[in-house]
Symmetry: C2
Subunit: 215 residues, 2 copies
């Protein structure tokens, strides 16, 4: 029903699922998780049942307030616009624009080019391909963040930009990108990972995290 807890259909290691987990945690919203294993059974996201939740056959999909939403930034902004608590976007329009610009550099300019589906389709040189696009994106983000960042990506308030940054750095580390090239990104990531909402939602400690990947 519309009044029950939101349901997140996601995968422990999906950076887009992690974004939504952080947003719920920052807002203090209880939610249920239904794991969608992107590897097992040839990819559970390809089932007919899951396709009705997200026709793109990607995670996440979120059932909330009687509707089903996909696309993590749409979900995060919906949560922000309908729930009280910490603001995930600043009140100032220029700061909001900077938060969205940084979020979209990651969500449109980096993540789609290094996600599982595309990497599988590339065939050879998967790691080099992913590294190339993460490096290109981070080379753009680093000077932008040097201008916008305070303690966090935009000023001193946690925002959607931070929610996008941390899972993307996690992906960068999986693909062995040299993070020493990006001191601002590295510093922000370290600061953010100390916040409980980023820490408790980490891929290493989700209900569907395999035992050998748990910390």
């Amino acid at each position: 029903s519309a009044s029950s807890a939101p349901i997140l259909h996601g995968y422990f290691r999906s950076s887009c699922s992690w974004r939504v987990r952080i947003a719920f945690a920052l807002k203090g919203i209880e939610f249920d998780q239904v794991p969608v294993n992107l590897i097992k059974d040839g990819g559970q996201q390809y089932s007919e049942q899951y396709k009705t939740l997200n026709p793109m056959q990607q995670v996440p999909a979120v059932e909330i307030d009687g509707v089903t939403l996909s696309q993590s930034l749409a979900v995060i902004q919906y949560i922000d616009e309908t729930r009280p608590g910490l603001r995930l976007l600043p009140a100032d329009p220029q700061k909001r624009a900077q938060v969205r610009m940084i979020s979209d550099i990651i969500a449109s300019g980096i993540q789609p080019l290094q996600n599982l589906y595309v990497i599988q389709k590339i065939g050879t040189e998967k790691v080099q391909w992913a590294q190339h696009f993460i490096n290109r994106g981070f080379q753009a983000l680093e000077p932008i963040l040097k201008q916008t960042a305070g303690k966090y990506c935009v000023g001193d308030e946690v925002s959607m930009a931070d929610i996008c940054l941390v899972p993307q750095v996690y992906n960068a580390e999986r693909f062995k990108v040299d993070m020493d090239q990006f001191p601002t990104i590295k510093r922000l990531n370290q600061t953010l990972l100390e916040i409980e909402a980023f820490n408790t939602t980490h891929p290493s400690c989700q209900p569907d995290t395999p035992a050998d990947l748990q910390k």
Copy 2:
């Protein structure tokens, strides 16, 4: 100065530049265009000068109110939040979420995978690659739009979702995607192209449109 007309650095055929042109036109905002030729001189977006405007070295970049913004959806929402006139996102939070979901399926799920830079990097089978990702995205969009659409993508008001849809259909046609598979998308595109703000901003009639591509 902050009070002068916004400057759009873009390219006639870039779908992300066209999105911003439509948004300005729907809002009735005068703007100046500075062409960035993505082909000439090995790509003018790679110049050191342009890199300061958009470190991702992509179009568009927009100078507005004393700041420089990139990422078309961040620009469009900034315009919407700071300018009067037609709303580009609906007031209702669930409808706003649907508008953002549809916009992001295009802006994160389709366009980045078929843009010039990626297509150039693929090497062989460029057209098949682009067709594959446009087909995959449109196969997801078609059932979503069947549920959300009225006269336009979400209900009967033009929104950011429509601003994203029309330029993506233009790209689909360039890559010879069979649009008869997607009757809802096709119908929406035809309806939208009759609106002046979509028509006057079309790639076929911009200041930098080459003579042989003008209509």
